[in-house]
Symmetry: C2
DNA sequence: TCTGTTGTCAACCATGTGGTTGAGCAGGAT
DNA sequence: ATCCTGCTCAACCACATGGTTGACAACAGA
């Protein structure tokens, strides 16, 4: 499974509120499928499927303890996600600050807002 | 739209590789729908729909410039996402470190790995 | 006014997703 | 051996999603 796919699965996994809630509870400590299912009024099979999605995304691992399958939160993928997000957030932020500087520098020039913005050859 | 829903939409939006790529390119600067669509070999309508998803998630805004609809990356929601992730990642991390400390403290005691782990009353 | 450019809307299709119920497996407990 | 518990698998259903094509709205320029 390549990196991009892992990121996709991770974001898709956390797009569901029930799964986010499960992750939140697992952050406080490992728990069995049954214990995790208890607060929701959906079937235990549905919760099992949610956990499978989280596991396939690498966000959760399950060990074996007799009939029980305790779930454990794996934080690594969370790191992957923040790294992805922060990379672009920071880039946008920096660009914004640079723009601010440009605007400040030409504060007495009456150019309209349309800055050059050179983009790869298409359009216009 | 409530907060949880916004987070859901944001994660769902970034679960698609094409949309992540679009966000990545927008981080470098605003761009029109046509310019954004150019590298992909899907229809421009498909790209337009992707942008709509990003806009509904609050990740992108569009202004109007004649026929063109230049897209702009809105970084706030990215912040929301990292906050959500980091909260639980940190919590899991701390728990892990605490567990390490406990294990270190009882290094000459031969207790099995099954720590008490008090969880809300269900199961076992 | 007519034409070309840019983008959205609508309808449709295939596939994926979250839920259900029912069956069944693995492994204590009696 | 038998039963109960904890969980997963399989089949099914309704609906969402990503893609298509075709029509058309908005606007610049001839």
């Amino acid at each position: 499974m390549d990196e991009d796919d892992r990121v996709s699965r991770a974001f898709a996994a956390l797009a569901d509120p029930t799964r986010r809630d499960i992750v939140g509870r697992l952050a406080a400590g490992d728990a069995t499928v049954g214990a995790l299912a208890e607060p929701y009024d959906i079937s235990i099979q549905a919760v099992s499927k949610h956990i499978k999605v989280l596991a396939d995304a690498g966000l959760v691992s399950q060990r074996r303890d007799a009939q029980r399958r305790p779930c454990h939160l794996e934080a690594e993928v969370l790191d992957l996600m923040t790294k992805w997000i922060e990379r672009y957030r920071r880039q946008a932020q920096e660009r914004y600050e640079r723009l601010d500087a440009v605007l400040a520098e030409m504060h007495d020039d009456e150019r309209p807002i349309h800055l050059p913005r050179p983009h790869q050859g298409a359009a216009s």
